[in-house]
């Protein structure tokens, strides 16, 4: 299974929706709440080149915003590896 990292803030509904989507589909993920962690915030901006959450890193494939279709596409890519 691919490693999934999600960068979030506490009150961001799209972050919550993304986490719910991953949980519903039984995908494990690491959450990095950037709110009180400038290191993670910088890491997120460096990876995505922007300041919006959520950012989802699926082994190098960066997705910005709540986008189940893109997440599924990135995860399903593992079958071809």
């Amino acid at each position: 299974m691919k490693k999934i990292t999600i960068y979030t803030t506490t009150y961001c509904p799209w972050c919550q929706a993304t986490k719910d989507f991953l949980k519903q589909n039984n995908y494990e993920f690491e959450e990095k709440n950037v709110e009180n962690n400038p290191e993670w915030a910088n890491e997120m901006v460096e990876k995505s080149g922007q300041y919006g959450v959520p950012v989802i890193d699926i082994e190098g494939k960066i997705i910005v915003g709540y986008s189940p279709e893109e997440i599924m596409e990135a995860i399903k890519g593992e079958d071809n590896n």
């Binding site: 009150y11 961001c12 509904p13 009180n36 915030a41 922007q50 300041y51 959450v53």
Partner: protein, 309 residues
């Protein structure tokens, strides 16, 4: 054909759904998300029964409530509506979405609203490059930085207060001569040492290279153009009702794009009801959306029953 379709799954739509379900109405909710603007509300202190909550948590409570009744939400975007004749005396409605076409005897429109844009140079270019319409989402990324909140109402007040806790300096710029909204919020905003409110300021341009670096505004009193150095810009200038999918020839909306409803949430087309922020009710509040959703639900039930089997 369903007896009813609810378009939208935030405070109004989900409240209507609970009432329809309890009357065993065969209905479907179609929505692009759950929670809408309610979920983006940040801290909420004026929804009765919840002295202190937030948009995500309150949305979760609504979700738990519809889950209890096994009400599902189809995740889809409604693109158009149409009216079809069932027979000489009766009509039904078509709901055309991105993925499907649904039919129903009655519709409740509860699609809420989305943040308005300034439509100025730099706004599109710097979206998510330091410019955002969602303070609760993205303000935490500007810890110890300088941000500018554009707007003069409650959303701007709330964003300014939130920003004061996170950022080094917050500018609030409004074209109005004073802030509008809840007095308690305005007083709190004014009391913050790191907040400066600039009145009579019409934003002209968002400046930057790769990311936002400043804001240009016109001082409406002196006529001068001024520049603010800023790392982030948050736009809160009001909301636009989500009514694009409604045929304009139906004439359901007023000049602000809001659906005109009476006290029973009826529109001018029998069988089409509307509730919440998408309507012309002046106060856009979660509590009011809930109440209107319930009215629309009960009236839709009455309408369905009046059609017979």
């Amino acid at each position: 054909m369903k007896q009813g379709i609810i378009i939208g799954a935030s405070a109004a739509g989900l409240s209507a759904a609970i009432y329809l379900k309890r009357q065993n109405i065969d209905f479907q909710i179609i929505s692009k998300d759950i929670g809408g603007e309610m979920a983006l509300s940040g801290i909420i202190e004026n929804y009765p029964g919840f002295p202190l909550t937030d948009g995500v948590a309150l949305t979760q409570k609504f979700k738990e409530h519809i889950d209890k009744y096994e009400i599902s939400v189809i995740n889809d975007t409604v693109n158009a509506l149409a009216i079809e004749k069932q027979n000489e005396h009766q009509q039904y409605f078509k709901v055309i979405t991105a993925k499907n076409v649904y039919t129903a005897k009655t519709i409740i429109i509860a699609t809420g609203s989305t943040p308005k844009k300034l439509n100025i140079p730099g706004e599109e270019k710097f979206y998510h490059k330091g410019l955002s319409y969602c303070s609760v989402c993205d303000l935490p990324l500007f810890k110890d930085k300088v941000v500018t909140i554009i707007g003069g109402g409650n959303s701007a007040n709330e964003a300014g207060i939130m920003g004061s806790r996170i950022c080094k300096q917050v500018y609030v710029i409004t074209k109005n001569p004073m802030m509008k909204g809840d007095k308690i919020l305005i007083e709190e905003l004014k009391s913050k040492a790191n907040v400066k409110i600039i009145f009579n300021a019409l934003t002209q341009e968002i400046i930057g290279e790769n990311f936002v670096s400043g804001v240009k505004y016109n001082d409406l009193v002196s006529g001068e153009t001024n520049y603010l150095k800023t790392d982030g810009v948050f736009i809160h200038i009001g909301l636009q009702p989500n009514t694009k999918f409604i045929p304009p020839e139906w004439n359901l909306m007023n000049s602000y794009g809001e659906i005109i409803v009476n006290e029973l949430c009826q529109t001018k087309i029998p069988g089409i009801f509307a509730a919440g922020d998408v309507t012309n009710i002046p106060h856009k509040q979660i509590g009011i959306a809930v109440g209107q959703g319930i009215i629309a639900g009960l009236e839709a039930i009455k309408f369905i029953n009046s059609l017979g089997s």
